[in-house]
């Protein structure tokens, strides 16, 4: 039977007087269950543990979720843009000339006193809350559950470039020969899984501007540099809220 709009408007409001207590109870239970999920299960618990679990400058952490929890500390003062890191990376990871897994940014200040330029090495920040993996429709990019590296499964990549849009660090490019997005994976397949202790870029750096580290080890250099208050350590685009694992410092 079809009920027209005018019929609905003409019908009498049933009111709440005739609803049985059983029906009321069902309704309230449903509401409480939904609220309970938000309060206890997801939203609140995520908020309450986020500062404890995820590294960022300022709010130092109590533990890191991965073992090893790979990270990198970059000392901007030491970077001279010799680009040996880029070269080593390209040779190790089959990076074509039109793309990059890591690159160097330049900042110039003509009227600065003393040194008038600085170089800022950048790469994938292997964020603890990555945007790229969230927006990937095929899970071609994902966070490795053991070491936290943001990885690519090229066979699943459909080249939609959503991850490129999502990344606040411009750390992804489309590899035309692989027909997939390519990015830094801390040399996992090419070096770390073969027993090498450093990424190609860190290994090639002649000035020690890049230190590869493990945040799950309190004895590690990077861990110790990040967990101190005497010398500033920061991350790029903290406001993006992605909790990066690449840290920066000077001198």
């Amino acid at each position: 039977m079809k009920i027209t709009k005018s019929q609905i408007e003409a019908s009498k409001n049933e009111g709440t007087d005739n609803i049985s207590s059983e029906e009321r109870r069902h309704f309230l239970k449903m509401g409480l269950a939904v609220t309970g999920v938000f309060a206890g299960g997801t939203i609140l618990s995520a908020v309450s543990t986020v500062n404890k679990t995820y590294a960022c400058t300022g709010d130092f952490v109590e533990h890191y979720p991965y073992k090893p929890h790979y990270s990198m500390l970059i000392n901007i003062s030491n970077c001279i843009d010799c680009e040996r890191c880029k070269k080593a990376c390209a040779e190790t990871n089959d990076v074509p000339s039109y793309g990059f897994r890591t690159t160097i940014l330049e900042r110039e200040m003509q009227h600065a006193i003393g040194q008038k330029r600085e170089f800022i090495p950048v790469l994938c920040n292997h964020c603890n809350l990555p945007q790229c993996t969230r927006v990937c429709p095929t899970k071609a990019t994902y966070k490795n559950k053991e070491n936290g590296i943001v990885m690519m499964d090229t066979s699943k990549c459909i080249g939609c470039l959503s991850c490129q849009m999502g990344c606040p660090y411009n750390a992804r490019y489309f590899h035309e020969e692989k027909v997939a997005v390519d990015k830094c994976n801390f040399c996992f397949d090419t070096r770390l899984s073969k027993g090498k202790k450093k990424t190609a870029c860190a290994d090639a750096c002649p000035t020690g501007a890049r230190t590869f580290g493990d945040m799950s080890d309190p004895g590690n250099f990077v861990y110790q540099q990040v967990h101190q208050l005497e010398k500033p350590v920061w991350v790029l685009r903290e406001s993006a809220g992605t909790k990066p694992n690449v840290f920066y410092t000077k001198a």
Binding site: D81, K87, F119
Partner: protein, 124 residues
Amino acid sequence: MNRTKLTILALAALFVAGITGQALAEGDIIFTEPVMGVIFSHDVHVEENGMDCEECHDDLFEMEALTAQQNDDFTMQSLSEGNYCGACHDGDMAFDSDTRCASCHIGVIGYQKATGTAERSTHH
């Protein structure tokens, strides 16, 4: 008519200068070994700081540009031992060669800007 032509030429020259970025100033030398892109400015040393030719030539550096970088000991270690730039850049006469890296190291980016090339490195 001539004036218009000249103006157009001048504007074109400015435009070309603009797109090629900062040009290599006269007397600028860019070392490419052992790392890419280290600038030395005669302008800064001679004009601004009033140094004489003899202060560097021929004891520290030969007159011909870029000969120093052919030597195996043209390294930061050597500079800290008082050779080459390190003769003055010791933290006393001039800022220590161990500091302010990017004052002299203009890198691959700086080399490309100065020379207007996309060349990555020169190997001997």
